[in-house]
């Protein structure tokens, strides 16, 4: 039953997909289609292409689920990794750079997907907020460099050329930005872990 699949964690769904269980793919799609599509759309800036990329990502999951290694990455990380690289490949084949990197990340919409479990939707929104908060700490020029590297798939030399800045300046911006994000997200992760641990301790004490 589909309701059973909704209770399974991502790794179990992947195992079921290796057994060609379509319901498992259906469930995984419901969980992550928006994440994959949003990422692809931000990179290629075209809905039809982003949908094709989304289809390709989930078809790859269907056909290559056996190659997933749980000890190397979370399922969501695996999906976004495939999506990002595929979308950047598409962008490079087009050899046309869109101008969407001026997008204001802070303007992200937190609409809930009708297909998505409310809890999963809330978790995705929380993770988005966390990353946006981290990005908000960055000076605009550092944020721009990260945008061009991550969503544009540009090398540092290409970023320097695009922004007409010395390569050394771009290298510094990228390095400083990533170090700040690393520090902020690590602190956030630690406090989140502590919060989860505190909740777990509270629940255990209540059961006792």
């Amino acid at each position: 039953m589909k309701s059973d699949y909704a209770r399974y964690d991502d790794e179990r769904l992947i195992r079921l997909i290796t057994e060609a269980r379509e319901e498992a793919l259906d469930q995984l799609y419901d969980r992550y289609n928006r994440l994959v599509f949003s990422l692809a759309l931000t990179i290629v800036n075209d809905r039809a292409t982003a949908e094709e990329i989304t289809l390709d990502v989930f078809m790859r999951v269907w056909q290559k689920a056996g190659t997933y290694r749980a000890d190397q990455a979370k399922v969501s990380t695996w999906l976004t990794h495939i999506a990002r690289h595929h979308a950047i490949d598409v962008l490079r084949r087009r050899a046309v750079r869109s101008d969407q990197y001026a997008v204001q990340w802070e303007e992200a919409i937190y609409a809930k997907s009708p297909q998505q479990d409310p809890q999963e939707s809330a978790e995705l929104s929380m993770r988005r907020e966390r990353v946006h908060a981290a990005l908000a700490q960055l000076p605009p020029d550092q944020k721009q460099a990260i945008q061009l590297a991550y969503f544009g798939g540009l090398t540092q030399s290409q970023i320097a050329e695009t922004l007409k800045q010395p390569l050394g300046t771009i290298k510094t911006r990228v390095r400083l930005a990533m170090q700040k994000l690393q520090s902020f997200l690590r602190d956030e992760q630690n406090s989140e872990d502590k919060s989860v641990e505190a909740q777990r301790t509270y629940n255990i004490s209540k059961e006792e």
């Binding site: 799609y29 759309l41 990533m178």
Partner: protein
């Protein structure tokens, strides 16, 4: 270089924004330095989270249906090697036909894998289990496209296999129409591979025995409510 730490390069390495040569040097160093590897993993974690920075957007509601159609299509017609074009149509379709019909055959009580071998030696429309293989012919002058529809004895299951229909441009798919009393009902939306082969399960609101003919047209991705494109392949099924 591989003995020197590469800590300053790791942020850009994680983003994939190093030049190829420098990226190779970092790769080489990481293979033997756990200090830099730990730091690299930490930056990879940052990059993983950046995917959540993309403004939230939702794909079309029908995208999941398109995904599942693709899944069905690949389950029914895995890739096969192109066959020489000179052999009879049924023989040429054998690889795709055998594989494409496998799911259907498995689902039919009493079916067995000898069916395919026997079917290949029997006149069209007769099998020991009462299944019918109905050949389709090209509707366009000069086309070498062929195909057939396999229908179970009770008409409840059907599969389509085509050969010689070239892959379509982006945004287009083939659509199978089931014809009854002049009315056309969609039976499948499918694509063909680089060998111009394609296969799909047929889904119909009525028993397939109720339809008198089929046709295949080119339609926008995902299919149309009614045919809008030119018919490329077709043929009669039964006389209800």
């Amino acid at each position: 270089m591989s003995d020197e730490h590469v800590l300053d390069s790791l942020p850009a390495y994680a983003l994939g924004s190093l030049e190829a040569e420098e990226s190779r040097r970092v790769d080489e160093h990481l293979s033997s330095c756990w200090i830099c590897r730990d730091e690299s993993n930490s930056f990879q974690m940052v990059v993983e989270q950046l995917s959540f920075a993309a403004p939230a957007a939702a794909p079309s509601p029908d995208l999941k249906e398109r995904l599942m159609q693709r899944v069905h299509s690949t389950r029914l017609a895995p890739r096969v090697q192109a066959q020489p074009a000179k052999r009879p149509w049924l023989e040429r379709l054998l690889p795709a036909w055998g594989l494409a019909s496998l799911c259907l055959l498995i689902g039919l009580a009493g079916s067995n894998l000898f069916l395919w071998q026997r079917l290949n030696q029997l006149p069209v429309g007769t099998t020991s289990l009462g299944m019918r293989a109905v050949p389709l012919s090209a509707s366009v002058a000069g086309s070498t496209a062929t195909g057939f529809v396999l229908i179970s004895a009770d008409g409840e299951d059907g599969a389509l296999v085509v050969d010689g229909l070239p892959p379509l441009e982006e945004g287009k798919q083939y659509q199978l129409w089931l014809i009854r009393d002049g009315q056309r009902t969609s039976g499948a939306v499918f694509s063909t591979d680089e060998n111009s082969y394609g296969g799909t399960r047929i889904r119909a609101p009525l028993s397939l025995l109720e339809y008198s003919a089929v046709g295949i047209t080119i339609e926008p991705q995902g299919g149309s409510p009614q045919p809008t494109g030119k018919q490329v392949l077709g043929g009669p099924l039964f006389s209800p």
